[in-house]
Symmetry: C2
């Protein structure tokens, strides 16, 4: 079995111990690493060889993001050089990582690739909080949504009836700016305002912070003072105390 020259690698929440063994191997072997965000990828990027070329392709504080098709074109250009390329993506590359667009570009160019999955932020946040994402009877559906559209706004096509279900566990990715508006719509749709919620900031980093509260409380906290770091918000019965807690 030969390894394809391009690997999409899940960086997980940012803690190198939460990389998969295969992810470590691919990063250590890489001649080129394309990454999005130095703040999130720093410790993971440190596993790459000193002489590997490290290319920032994502948004950095205060600067506009490159367009996705420019990122895809850059990935194709590096892949064509025949060097071993790692495309590092936060969390799991298949979860809100725009992986589909970069795959399409490689396919169109006839370039083989592999995907090395990663620990998504919701799984990492729940683990840090000592909670299960699902709960017998009370939370038997788990769903992930993104809190912002390509232009940073709340997506217009949210299926509110699916999201306003206190019997599911819902993880909102990239939602720190839009969650107050989303929470208001969910409560109007019937989600109890006191549904248990968890706000996890900087998951996987030494300065991570976990706040528990109700959906209404977490929304109010975010409206007052949005955290500076990346956040994931989880809500649903599974985020509350257990039967024996």
């Amino acid at each position: 079995v030969t390894t394809p020259p391009v690997a999409f690698v899940g960086a997980g929440p940012g803690d190198p111990e939460l990389l998969t063994v295969r992810a470590v191997k691919r990063i250590e072997a890489a001649e080129v690493v394309l990454y999005d965000d130095l703040a999130a990828s720093g410790p993971v990027l440190g596993l790459a060889r000193a002489r590997a070329e490290k290319v920032a392709v994502g948004k950095r504080a205060g600067r506009p993001s490159p367009r996705q098709d420019a990122v895809s074109a850059l990935l194709v250009a590096y892949a064509r050089t025949g060097r071993r390329v790692v495309r590092l993506k936060a969390g799991d590359p298949g979860v809100f990582g725009r992986l589909d667009e970069e795959i399409a570009a490689l396919r169109a160019a006839g370039l083989p690739f592999e995907i090395v999955p990663g620990i998504n932020a919701a799984a990492a946040a729940a683990a840090e909080a000592g909670a299960s994402l699902t709960r017998r009877v009370a939370a038997r559906r788990l769903q992930f949504v993104t809190g912002h559209d390509v232009d940073g706004r709340l997506p217009g096509d949210l299926r509110l009836s699916a999201l306003a279900d206190p019997g599911a566990t819902t993880a909102v990715f990239m939602g720190k700016a839009t969650f107050p508006a989303l929470a208001a719509r969910l409560i109007a749709e019937g989600l109890p305002a006191d549904t248990p919620a968890l706000l996890a900031e900087n998951v996987g980093a030494p300065d991570r912070r976990l706040d528990r509260g109700t959906v209404a409380e977490i929304a109010a906290r975010l409206a007052e003072a949005p955290p500076s770091g990346p956040c994931v918000i989880l809500y649903g019965a599974a985020m509350g105390p257990g039967e024996d807690a």
Copy 2:
């Protein structure tokens, strides 16, 4: 930072390369490993020390499963010995792993624990299929459900309107026996019968098999000849060919 004596460890899909680095450390350091299923955990269990005590607590072919409260009691009993205990769970321990019940038992006994997340079967299946779980615009909600209840039947409280959404990616865990019935209900609820689907069997193992088709086709295939190994079924627009495919 001291490591709690009990670690819930995500075994991922079963390929030791898809364990996290921390999971490998915990398994290698364990004095006791409680695992569910030898078929699924074999290669991962092989990382434990030869002298570690390995205890099967889950269902094995042809024998009834121990009751969950007996498993929880056993975990508490081992934890009380003060030995380093790993509770190995397939995939991510927080996703349909009944982790909530074992956590509650440890909490009630005043025993500390940590959770080491793992790669869930849906992420592993999509990665093996070269697909993203989400897709820009077309699939911006990702949801996981279980295809069987504690007694092996389709759960009675499924939110069909949430599941019959072709614009979400839905992963059905443990659904090989019940998916034909679920698919019929989803199609009656409005899910197009030709929604793209992926049936992944034995993800992470050398004999893994990926079948693509429509929801109706995958349901028919499962009704005719249910595979013998563990399966995850994914459906939604993201499982279809991309714009450039």
